[in-house]
């Protein structure tokens, strides 16, 4: 096992500051709230800024292709900041899931990079958001010999209005990953628990597709994309949990009841100290997953399972505690804490629940499931 680097480099901290400054300016909670019920739930302008001014939508893409030539570690830092603001941008779908597939597709994807790196177009991976990395290859879409795709995929995240869909489909020679223009697909928006990450159902009727990854690699590449997504989602969950903790601490230092600051009650201090501990664990786990994915470590699958399991639960707990400790105001629409609760709960299901990731450790960490349960004697 190679040594993991669990710290943030100076370059990573600089990147964080730059992203944070832009998000503070462009993505304050009230703006996010107002947008989520509008016509354009995702912020295309912010996406262009992230692409053109900050160059953070293709961090792990080699410079030769128009990317930043950095690594998934830096991508993870951006996700922390996006999680901290619940930013309504298609980063997970485009800059993580789709980008992983396109990088693996090599020359077949060459034509896609200029528009993606410039932020003119976004992409997503057309899988149901709750799909876990170790799930069976989805067979809801079929591809014929001419590359026409027919079928349906439900609850896909970050579907671009006009952009690129990467569709796993069952082709004439076996499973493949196909590039499909979103304009050739019927996209139906679907009510999403997470107001800041819209979902859509896709229907394909002989939609023209171009094979990106053929049967020999399709399953492995899809697994890699979902694993990368689950591992980096932990960083988003970390940022989200940090916001919830910091915001709650700040509130409880101000809010007075019984003639004193509510945060002075020891019962609450202990609660927040426990939460801090969980978040510290989440930071270590999320960093470990990002580093292992960035270096292609053989241990990546284990570390992703650990991070997804821990961070998924911590983000939900942090958001639930934040609502609770804000009292009545935490139950309102007007206060942004609900955006975080909804994002955290949806993230817990996205790319496999914590329980699902723990179950994968049965194999990964050689901890076999128990045998048949005992029968009741009189049955």
């Amino acid at each position: 096992m190679t040594e993991l680097d669990l710290l943030y480099s100076e370059v990573e901290e600089d990147l964080r500051s730059a992203v944070r400054a832009v998000l503070a300016d462009r993505c304050p909670p009230q703006a996010v709230l107002a947008r989520c019920e509008g016509q354009e739930p995702q912020d295309a302008g912010l996406w262009r800024t992230l692409a053109r001014e900050l160059g953070v939508v293709a961090l792990q893409v080699p410079e030769a292709l128009g990317g930043a030539g950095a690594s998934l570690r830096e991508t993870a830092v951006v996700l922390e900041e996006l999680g901290r603001t619940c930013a309504p941008v298609p980063f997970l779908g485009s800059a993580v899931l789709a980008t992983t597939v396109l990088l693996a597709a090599g020359d077949r994807a060459a034509g896609e990079w200029p528009a993606l790196c410039a932020g003119d177009r976004t992409a997503t991976l057309a899988v149901t958001l709750s799909t876990a990395p170790d799930a069976a290859f989805p067979l809801g879409v079929r591809a014929d010999a001419a590359g026409a795709l027919t079928g349906a995929v439900g609850s896909v995240a970050d579907v671009p209005a006009a952009g690129l869909l990467i569709v796993p489909a069952d082709g004439p020679d076996g499973p493949g990953l196909y590039a499909v223009d979103a304009a050739d697909v019927t996209v139906t928006a679907r009510g999403s628990l997470d107001l800041t990450r819209p979902l859509a159902d896709l229907r394909l009727e002989a939609a023209p597709g171009r094979l990106l990854v053929g049967p020999d690699q399709a399953e492995a590449v899809l697994w890699e994309a979902l694993l990368t997504g689950a591992g980096l989602l932990a960083s988003e969950q970390l940022g989200l949990a940090e916001w919830c903790l910091a915001t709650t601490v700040a509130y409880l230092r101000e809010r007075r009841q019984f003639g004193r600051v509510v945060g002075s009650f020891q019962a609450l201090k202990h609660r927040l100290a426990d939460l801090w501990l969980d978040v510290a664990g989440a930071r270590a786990a999320a960093r470990a997953a990002a580093d292992a994915l960035a270096t292609g470590s053989a241990d990546a699958a284990v570390l992703v399972a650990v991070a997804a399991s821990h961070c998924g639960a911590v983000a939900v707990r942090a958001a639930e505690e934040a609502v609770q400790l804000h009292g009545g105001i935490g139950m309102t629409w007007e206060h942004p804490v609900h955006l975080y609760l909804k994002r955290a709960k949806a993230d817990q299901l996205a790319l496999g629940t914590p329980g699902r990731h723990r179950a994968s450790l049965a194999t990964l960490a050689a901890l076999p499931v128990p045998g048949q349960l005992p029968r009741l004697p009189h049955v």
């Binding site: 019920e37 149901t128 958001l129 709750s130 439900g154 609850s155 679907r190 009510g191 999403s192 628990l193 997470d194 107001l195 979902l199 007075r256 009841q257 019984f258 003639g259 004193r260 509510v262 009650f265 019962a267 609450l268 939900v316 639930e320 609502v323 609770q324 009292g327 009545g328 935490g330 139950m331 309102t332 629409w333 007007e334 609900h338 609760l341 909804k342 709960k345 949806a346 817990q348 299901l349 996205a350 629940t353 329980g355 699902r356 723990r358 179950a359 499931v369």
Partner: protein, 397 residues
């Protein structure tokens, strides 16, 4: 004492005189109230027969079997669960006669004007003022202040209201308890949207609201003690609902589990079984509490029921969303509306998950309930309190 058999006979008499199939539902409910079959443990003449509370189930079962209309408790939970027991205990004969019947039949919805922006957990710090306007027999009170998180205020005809009548005494002593007419021109109800999308609660601004002295409940300055009756009953109303095995949220979860083998995993199964056991324990605890109470008022034990209910509701609804996987990612409708009902089991899993978050805040937060158990049940010393013995107007808030 009334027996189950007598209640069956009496119920049959009501049904014979007022066939539910042909009687207007409101007429039926009024007749039921007048027959003493509304809440059998209430006194005769006030919708009851002075019978043991547990016998209500006998009447309810007979009426349900006959297809009789009910008073839809989800619409009038605050009236039934909080206002009624308080009026029964502290109201004058006249107040009881005026308010209880339309409260029970659902003709008049009630809301609870307790919490304020600066007085939530520390309810006794409330700042809404009631000032006596004169000394004559027609004298009454003028009320000014702001209330918040008021559920159902947009539907309510009446409110139970706490207001400060004496700022010169320590905070617990200067509060009085009123019945407030929500149609008074000085009452301004503004919707407050919740994280579910709905505006179930409201802000209520009170400006020069006139309340006749006849609508004061209990003695001047006794509001805090009276409020304890309301709050203890509220906690039982939220946490101590009588349910059958697999009633409520666990029933919904169990049904989903049975209907969807494809969603099952070992981990979720263990959590389902844990939730099922917890729900059954809570149900048995509630049964035991009812047997202990028989009649009479709930004490701090109600706090335990509500604490356990909130924890369970949150556990079960969180689990349901996880179990549903793809469907758990969805949400039916975020449109802002002002609901007619408070229903913890309504709508979809996402709604139930979000609404359940309120269960540990409304009616006294889980933290406050733990303090009550620690201090009033276990007898542990209270936190040092700087504000208890100083006049309210001088206390730091």
């Amino acid at each position: 004492m009334t027996t189950a058999d007598e209640l069956v006979t009496r119920t049959a008499g009501l049904l014979a005189a007022h066939d539910p199939a042909t009687t207007d539902p409101l007429e039926f409910l009024r007749a039921r109230f007048d027959a003493g079959l509304a809440w059998v443990h209430f006194p005769p003449g006030l919708g009851g027969l002075g019978a043991p509370r547990a016998l209500q189930a006998v009447v309810d079962a007979e009426l349900a079997a006959a297809g009789a209309p009910d008073n839809d408790p989800r619409r009038i939970g605050i009236g039934l669960g909080m206002a009624a027991p308080t009026i029964l205990r502290y109201g004058t004969e006249e107040q009881k006669r005026r308010f209880l019947r339309p409260l029970w039949t659902g003709e008049e919805v009630w809301c609870q004007l307790f919490s304020e922006p600066g007085a939530g957990s520390d309810l006794a710090a409330l700042a809404t003022r009631a000032v006596r306007d004169g000394d004559g027999p027609d004298a009454g009170w003028t009320v000014d202040g702001q209330k918040v998180w008021t559920s159902s205020a947009h539907l309510a005809r009446w409110a139970i209201l706490l207001a400060r009548t004496d700022p010169d005494v320590p905070k617990h002593q200067g509060i009085s308890y009123f019945v407030c007419d929500m149609t008074d021109p000085g009452v301004d109800v503004r919707p407050l949207r919740q994280l579910t999308g709905e505006a179930e609660f409201n802000e209520v601004f009170l400006t020069g609201v006139r309340i006749p002295d006849a609508h004061r409940l209990g003695a001047v300055g006794e509001g805090w003690q009276i409020a304890q009756t309301t709050l203890n009953n509220e906690r039982v109303a939220i946490g101590g609902q009588r349910t059958p095995r697999e009633g409520g949220l666990i029933g919904i979860l169990a049904e989903t589990w049975r209907r969807h083998p494809e969603l099952r995993t070992h981990e979720l199964h263990q959590r389902l079984l844990q939730g099922w056991t917890d729900a059954e324990v809570l149900r048995l605890m509630g049964e035991r509490l009812r047997q202990q109470l028989a009649v009479g008022q709930p004490g701090p034990e109600g706090a335990a029921a509500k604490l356990a209910f909130a924890r369970l509701a949150q556990e079960l609804t969180g689990l349901e969303v996880e179990l549903l996987a793809e469907d758990g990612l969805g949400y039916g409708d975020w449109t802002m509306s002002r609901p007619e009902l408070v229903d913890f089991t309504g709508r979809d899993a996402g709604y139930r998950y979000l609404r359940a978050k309120g269960n540990s805040i409304e009616g006294g937060s889980s933290e406050i309930l733990r303090n009550i158990i620690a201090e009033r049940v276990l007898g542990l010393p209270a936190e040092p309190r700087s504000d208890k013995d100083v006049p309210w107007k001088e206390s730091a808030r």
